[in-house]
């Protein structure tokens, strides 16, 4: 039985359907990603899983229980990092953890040692007594993760854990999340960074317009839809049509986004056929989730 199971899950806001009949089954210990542009319905899905939003239709169970019926016992084993920080700004860094532990009815001594452990784990032990206004955005995000771990959750929900952070802060959070993965904590992560999904997720669901377009292992999805490699050609403004004709003559699948042509399953031999095509730059590389993402929904999916 899955940790989270959804069937025909729906959520309306007035006449607008934000989540439109999705199904998924998340296994114990896996990291499952919801990948999609803004407005795809990722946050709405996460909020339904955490029992914050009642669903409009369909089935949703967490740990085999209906979240709308048994929220208290389910939430006891959940750790949530919301998209928008909702840390307690009236409290210091360490107080945030201790106060949160109390909501879970954790003994004060246990809470204190756990809080100190988590602050160390997230490299915040130098900031214990600081006010939230005194620490950076990346640190606040790490504190939000520490807070979500205070009850030793079986399932973590991470809604865009690294959006808006600088690369260094992002890498630090990735490293922490990977080490949580090793501890076999089930994780649900939403993101619109392909790289993040590729690095962390065992499986991803690609969402758009409230629907899941595709689901699977990132590498397999990419391989099945795009192929192993991609040739990326940045074309100049002149002779674009002539250049496109030569690309077409290769007989490979390709797609154009902006002034860049992506040739899927682009093999090495093709490069020689493209000599003198009048490109600004050419890149022969491994196919990524980003290629899949671009291809799946074309221009409309990208915000």
């Amino acid at each position: 039985m899955g940790v989270v199971e959804a069937r025909q899950l729906e959520r309306d806001f007035g006449a607008f359907r934000a989540v439109d009949g999705i199904a998924f089954n998340i296994e114990e210990g896996e990291c499952y990603g919801f990948l999609g542009p803004n407005g795809a319905g990722k946050t709405t899905t996460v909020r339904m899983i955490q029992g914050l939003l009642p669903r409009t239709g369909g089935d949703l169970t967490v740990f085999g229980k209906d979240i709308d019926r048994e929220p208290v016992s389910i939430k006891a084993d959940l750790g949530v990092v919301s998209q928008e920080n909702n840390l307690d700004r009236d409290l210091t860094v360490r107080q945030n953890l201790l106060t949160y532990a109390r909501y879970f009815d954790i003994e004060p001594e246990v809470a204190q040692s756990r809080a100190d452990e988590l602050l160390k784990f997230l490299h915040l032990d130098g900031k214990k007594g600081d006010k939230l206004s005194a620490i950076s955005g990346g640190m606040q995000r790490r504190l939000a993760i520490a807070r979500a771990l205070i009850n030793g959750p079986r399932l973590m929900l991470l809604d865009e854990p690294t959006t808006g952070l600088d690369p260094q802060a992002r890498h630090m959070i990735w490293a922490r999340l990977r080490s949580l993965k090793k501890q076999k904590i089930t994780m649900i992560l939403t993101t619109h960074y392909m790289e993040e999904a590729e690095r962390l997720c065992d499986r991803v669901a690609i969402m758009n317009g409230g629907k899941i377009l595709m689901e699977g292992k990132p590498s397999e999805l990419v391989k099945d839809v795009i192929g192993e490699e991609v040739i990326e050609l940045n074309l100049g403004d002149e002779n674009r049509q002539a250049a496109l004709n030569r690309v077409r003559a290769l007989g490979a699948a390709y797609e154009m986004h902006g002034d860049t042509v992506y040739i899927y399953n682009g093999r090495h031999e093709m490069l020689s056929a493209l000599v003198g095509i009048g490109h600004r730059s050419v890149l022969h590389r491994k196919a990524t989730l980003e290629d899949l993402f671009l291809k799946l929904a074309g221009r409309t999916l990208v915000d």
């Binding site: 307690d88 106060t99 909501y103 009815d105």
Partner: protein, 255 residues
Amino acid sequence: MQKRLLRAFRMWQRNYDVFKSVYLASIVGNIGEPILYLFGIGVGLGVLVKEVNGISYVQFIAPGMMAAAAMNAAAFECTFGAYTRMMEQKVYEGILATPLSIDDIVLGEILWGATKGLISSGILLVILVAFGLFDAYAEIPLILLNMAAFGIAMSALTLTITALTPGYEFFNYFFTLFLTPMLLFTGIYFPAEQLPKWFYSIFLAFPTAHAVNINRYLFHGGSATMPLWGALFMAVSIPCGIWLASRMVRRRLIP
């Protein structure tokens, strides 16, 4: 039920912890004003008024001033304070990811608002005792019970309004158009009998007039009719108010 109360108490504790760290500023704000009124109006006007119903003017207004202190503290906490936690800082949202529910949070907020009211009115009582303006010592438990019940009723009412409030600016109207009349026309500064009956009866639909009547009865005795109606009002309005506040906060937070 016990677990429910424990969860609500967790919310109360959160507010208490924050209060502890800034408590001097809070106390000055909540209690400074009623003390100024007590002595400014009580002693100042007392020179002109001399006696009301056979007692000195400052003694006459003392029970009502206690209710006013409780009202201000509870209302302030459950408007500006609660709105900041609910909408600005998203504290409720953070807590909703724990075993606490909206009902637990709302009950905790109401109990906290009542606690603030009890602290403010309690300090005023201490001041009254210190200045020899109070002698009904046997009634102290009932007086505090009245202030606690009033604080709960007032907190539930103001939290309901907060859940419906579009933004901070609205609270200015609320304080001017709702709380100021509650101070002026509920028998705190002059006997309510001087008001037209129909006019005073509007105020009997809210908790303040009842809290004042009960407190004055406990301080100075007199007819028990209105205080008994007041007790009944509290008994009915508290559960209804808590229920309504929960419902409105839920509606505000869950689209």
